[in-house]
Symmetry: C2
Subunit: 454 residues, 2 copies
């Protein structure tokens, strides 16, 4: 693992400036493509283009697959379509190739494909481009080992030598019939131990038992769930007739899982696009402003709510406004987060919605009772007036209970209408809870403060 | 994939109540252990114990590995130590076994280990129990394929047959010297294609090139980062002398990644333990109350801040309290989340802390300027008084800028002191930002409102 230090990058940049090609090559020798990609993230676009040309074609292609989208886009701009086809696409898997060019214009895509010499690869890529992003089809690679059930072990090994050349990892050998319908799999282990009896027919040694598969139209979330649950390293993808189209490998799914987790996390923290700390100030600003504006709209609405309830008559009620809004927000987000996680990992199986809401009501009541008793006690100790303390306690109980139920309800509804439920943990629900919480607070205040005090 | 419906569970429960063993077995035939584990989560402990005894030993062991900790604990309570050793441990990998029994008392662990007949396995488990949770050592399995560089291919295949029996998946064959020091690896593909020339020596065909390894003392986060970055399906674990101790497989790492993501997410939403929607009301309450209490303490502190600044003189300032606290919270969490993600995926490499803070200052200023101009404009349109509008705008600019910098600073400091930086996205920082935001608001108000108005 390469430790990318500031010195390392500076050395590299100096060598690039001076055109010391052999020094650059020496710095990058025996470095994994994924590490070189990290180095590229630290360099300027023209420096990347310079270094790129010095790398061995195979290695360079590995680097380009690992690059972040924006860095890759800038690098590819210095390439002609012919160069992209011959120097990049030739050396990478069909799924990486289609991912990479799918970001480009239709015209450019056609141009690139017309320059791909390997016709099978070109048609594989065209196939993959047709699957919608986020489906199993778009995630799969066409490269896999496929053998016919009628072949002998010897024939199988011979064919595999051919097919396996373009594959980094052989996890499983897929067994198909004459129509390419998937029948089962043959483990490499099994084949190895049968290798001495080369006239055995595949049909007699493969494993026809339940093999997990997905349709090409299935979502990538489903794919991730299946592979995670059943500890699979590769998952074959079929069409509606059961024909074998490709396979999805666990490394791609790890990426899906991590992206999904990051998306949920960003949603919960109010960031609207995929940003990194190293992005530009403008990108970072743009990713945050939508949620801030929602928060502001909520704040103005809150000002109206407070205005309506005539704060001037009971200005001491202002003291606990932050407490009420903070608690409404926290309690709501907590409930929403539990539902969002439950939906994400499929653990929200059987409970009906009403039962879930009732349960959440109980949890909210519990939490509310604990908090409001503590508050009542402490505000007496801290010498707030009794009628204010009672008002705040009663309001707090209602607010926490309401927020807990509301926080559970919203993601369930979003999910039913196929909207990402993680939206519910973001500033949207917090803001709604703030406003509703304040309404409850002032309604309770209006009733109690007039009854008890003043 | 089994669809677990309410009907399915009801049928099963009826069959259990009536003791219809063959019907139960029929319902669970050809069901994957991971699915049976899901079914178990829906049943009562005594029902689980009943079903468990009906399953084939091998299958049953697979189920118990997949169970949630709490369900498993309750199930294991109905077993004697001897049963656990003979009927469970015998049939599962050493890493799963040590995970499972590490939850038990020392006494019980000793008892169970004394009942394990396979001495090698017993010593493997004892070894694994010695690694601290969260390290590569605790994550690895001792089961792997290891061959000596001096062996011939024929000898190697013979030995592998023996070793591979207890392995579900052979990903890589590890090549060691006489002292068990890891030299490199041999792909199964390579071995298969050399299988015809059985007198070849392993030394001549294995791949001695850079192979990724970790020390047993390394953290599981590091392991996950390496395997994710380099797309590995298995990673060998070494001791300080380079001897091969075990291997970590990608399925275990997927679990680590998901758990970590869930933990961060829960932290950000203010949940203090690993809970699910299906947990009991009391567990759910307990997981949430700590953050609610922090929020409440913050709310009481806020009340003091507002009290100090004599709200009765300018009660209209109360109107914008929710806006100020909401924006302080949102802006702070956004900044913190970006840093937390950057730390988690190692993309925060080279920038120095001061540069990051300066950048965040710029982003905060930008966002603050946008928000406060919009606010100034809209509050004029909405007929708030001019001095109040100016006060709120100026305060908002300062609050957002401060919160952005503070939100960046806190997770960096936490990380430096080896505290989980995700803590910074939780209610803790939000609460601090609330209070500081209010102070800024009222300080600005005290200056401007006295200067302009009143």
């Amino acid at each position: 693992m390469l430790e990318i230090t500031r010195d390392y990058i500076q050395n590299l940049q100096e060598d690039i400036a001076l055109g010391k090609d052999s020094a650059i090559i020496a710095l990058l020798t025996d470095v994994h493509p994924a590490d070189i990609a990290d180095v590229f993230e630290e360099l300027r676009a023209e420096e990347n283009a310079y270094v790129y040309k010095l790398l061995d074609r195979e290695l360079a292609a590995g680097v380009i697959v690992e690059l972040d989208e924006d860095v890759r886009e800038r690098l590819l701009q210095s390439f002609t379509s012919k160069e992209i086809a011959e120097e990049v696409i030739e050396h990478i898997d069909s799924d990486d190739a289609s991912d990479m060019i799918s970001e480009l214009s239709d015209e450019k895509i056609e141009e690139i494909i017309s320059h791909i010499e390997d016709e099978e690869k070109a048609s594989d890529i065209i196939d993959l481009l047709n699957y919608r992003e986020g489906t199993a089809g778009a995630l799969m690679a066409k490269e896999l080992i496929r053998v016919n059930e009628k072949w002998t072990v010897a024939h199988c090994i011979r064919e595999m030598r051919k097919q396996a050349e373009e594959l980094d990892n052989v996890y499983t050998i897929y067994v198909v019939d004459d129509k390419d319908v998937l029948l089962g799999r043959l483990s490499l282990k099994r084949l190895l131990f049968s290798a001495s009896t080369t006239r055995t027919i595949i049909k007699d040694i493969y494993d026809p038992q339940t093999i997990y598969t997905v349709l090409a139209s299935e979502t990538e979330e489903k794919v991730a769930n299946i592979m995670e649950k059943y500890d699979l390293v590769a998952l074959p993808v079929l069409n509606e007739s059961g024909q074998l189209l490709g396979r999805i490998t666990i490394d791609d799914v790890v990426d899906v899982i991590m992206e999904e987790a990051e998306r949920d996390y960003q949603m919960a923290s109010g960031i609207s696009e995929d940003v990194e700390a190293s992005d530009s100030i403008w990108t970072l600003t743009r990713a945050r402003i939508p949620w801030l504006l929602i928060g502001m709209a909520g704040g103005i609405a809150s000002a109206y709510v407070i205005g309506i309830f005539d704060i001037e008559k009971h200005p001491e009620m202002a003291l606990f406004i932050p407490l009420i809004t903070a608690m409404a927000g926290n309690a709501g987000v907590q409930s929403a987060a539990i539902v969002v996680q439950g939906l994400a990992n499929n653990s929200l199986r059987m409970e009906a919605i009403t039962r879930k809401l009732l349960k959440e009501l109980a949890v909210g009541l519990f939490n509310g009772l604990i908090c409001s008793s503590i508050l009542l006690l402490s505000s007496v100790v801290l010498h707030f007036s009794l009628d204010l303390s009672i008002t705040v306690s009663v309001a707090l109980l209602s607010v926490i209970t309401f927020a807990a139920v509301f926080g559970t309800f919203v993601p369930l509804v979003l999910n039913r209408y196929k909207i990402d439920p993680a939206l519910a943990t973001g500033p949207f629900v917090t803001t709604a809870n703030d406003i509703i919480g304040l309404m409850i607070y002032f309604m309770v205040g209006n009733m109690l403060m007039t009854a008890v005090g003043a």
